[in-house]
Symmetry: C2
Subunit: 358 residues, 2 copies
């Protein structure tokens, strides 16, 4: 496909650890409920899933935050659970309880029935949205595609929704590891095909969200989550039509294991706020870029405090390439949108100051 060349390539360069004029910034869930214009579209769309599956509306909400803030990237508006939905598990959202599946997987027989969905068929609504958004962006900023990690997807698929105790998935993990490995392998193949389809449709960077990797022991994280993310990293089209496509891995609660995450061959690691970014930098050296890592709750504070916290993270990272500013998790729905504007402007201003300070 032929798209307008990229005007603002700070994100791509920073993810590839190349120098930039200032630090790029985007925010997890930047298209979301904290924006009144999002809530308006959400009402029009019907359910959350209807919104994800409507190409025009998904495009519209993806672009909304870019009209308010000088963000350096757009991220596809979608859900991490599109793959299990395409596998036939019947995704739905119950108000206040989060995502659920009508047909969770509980037995080895359930798992053996599951196949790799063809992303050009049952996930076509996603790749169509990617292409439309990329066209509408018109080269303004890069578009990030994403998927859930195999482990994270499997937790929802086996539990049937969000979980407090991970009883069923961990029961499977400890008792029938071969069955879980089979599921994770199918999911790794599915995520690889899905992300490659997003890249072919126009995604210029991709990110894998391992929301629940942090509930595992170190050994289980390595075997049941990280190994499968590595398998995906190795299967992705890292160069597409002359462009390098950076890959970011984000395990919430995974700060203890960033050396191992860096060793997968990914380009960047997303950090939550439970790690000091200067320490993270020391631990992984220049092998990967780092994305993060302000506590989303800082946005409830007054502007002066927000500015202080942004500065503290940026000076912690220091004057070298390879930092993408972000929160350590998604922005909360109750946040005042103006506070996000303060973050974005501060990142760009301080990023320039840091680069000019030598």
């Amino acid at each position: 496909m032929c798209f307008t060349p990229l005007k603002n390539d700070r994100l791509i360069k920073a993810l590839l650890r190349q120098p930039t004029d200032t630090t790029p910034v985007w925010i997890m869930r930047q298209a979301g409920r904290y924006l009144p214009e999002y809530r308006e579209i959400r009402k029009q769309a019907g359910s959350f899933l209807d919104l994800c599956k409507n190409r025009e509306l998904a495009c519209e909400v993806t672009l909304q935050p870019l009209r308010r803030f000088e963000l350096d990237a757009a991220i596809l508006f979608s859900d991490i659970l599109t793959i299990p939905d395409a596998m036939g598990l019947g995704l739905y959202f119950s108000e206040g309880e989060g995502p659920k599946f009508e047909r969770p997987l509980r037995t080895q027989a359930d798992i053996e029935k599951i196949g790799v969905p063809d992303p050009t068929e049952s996930l076509r609504y996603v790749t169509d949205a990617v292409t439309l958004i990329r066209q509408e962006l018109d080269g303004k900023v890069p578009l990030i595609g994403f998927s859930g990690s195999p482990w994270t997807l499997s937790t929802y698929m086996v539990e049937g929704g969000s979980s407090k105790d991970y009883r069923h998935i961990k029961g499977l993990m400890y008792d029938q590891p071969a069955a879980l490995h089979k599921l994770l392998d199918t999911l790794a193949n599915s995520v690889s095909a899905y992300l490659n389809a997003q890249i072919e449709a126009g995604a210029q960077a991709v990110m894998i969200f391992d929301t629940w990797g942090g509930v595992l022991s170190p050994e289980c994280y390595a075997r049941f989550s990280l190994d499968y993310m590595q398998q995906i990293v190795s299967s992705l089209k890292r160069n597409y039509e002359g462009q390098t496509i950076p890959v970011t891995l984000f395990t919430k609660g995974g700060a203890q294991w960033i050396e191992d995450t860096a060793a997968t061959g990914c380009d960047a690691i997303g950090l939550d706020w439970t790690i000091n970014i200067a320490d993270a930098r020391k631990r992984v050296g220049d092998r990967v870029a780092l994305q993060g890592n302000m506590d989303p709750c800082v946005l409830y504070a007054a502007p002066d405090k927000i500015i202080d916290e942004v500065k503290s993270i940026m000076t912690g990272f220091g004057n070298r390439p390879g930092h993408v500013f972000n929160l350590g998790h998604g922005i909360h729905p109750a946040v005042n949108p103006e506070h996000l504007g303060i973050v974005v402007d501060t990142v760009h201003r301080v990023g320039r100051e840091i680069r000019n300070s030598q």
Copy 2:
């Protein structure tokens, strides 16, 4: 007070890093819903809080797991939120939603009204239960007393219950740190007085549960949680009537910070399952004992797998003093009690094998 001398002192010795004949084991929430005999008493008692406040019934449920399993300690049956309840916040439990407060703290004025409760008055039901349990134990195993950490108590007090996003408490932390420090200081004084009253009433070891320290950034953990636990550690009666009273600190999600936790002067650190115990041992050396750290979900697995996991943790720790076997968090209500019996017996058997292997 005069109590029967302790017959099984493995726990106390291990917490003080002294040699023992085998590894001691107790289990967080060992008195709890996974036991049918507990559910029976709970029905008789009325609410959960009624059970905590009834000395005889609290004693009965504390002793129940010791009748089934060769556990090396009893732990007082109580709740971590007794202190805020004694401060007048009105603790109650709503089915399926966990603890709530009728009168949460939201403003600096709310915080300034809060005083240190006299543990011999409004918390007398706890110290009375401690003395009764100690008498009923008749020296069989030591009795552990406990409290929530100041940070953890403050999260419930400010949020009004459990929280997903810690919006109010972190808003206070980032925006009005002086008000939060005032609250935490009052709580540290309250916890110190409360734990000292438990020690005087008969508790032979004490533990501080920092259930929510892991939701903080490293800097905030140090300033808003660990500093106040250190203040408590320094204020406790570590020697009482000729006995050393070991102090254990447990921050769920705090594996990254165990060096700092060890530096508080505590005797032992509780570990959740997100850290390899051999690595933890290397990081803290012989400064503290370690308690933990099996994933509670292992108890959903088959007996052989449970035995393997117990062995793996014990051989990871190795043949030296200072390990107390436990889960990395409380036992789940849906677990088969027989599986806990397997854990306890395996710990004792493998602990002897490890000691005889040299």
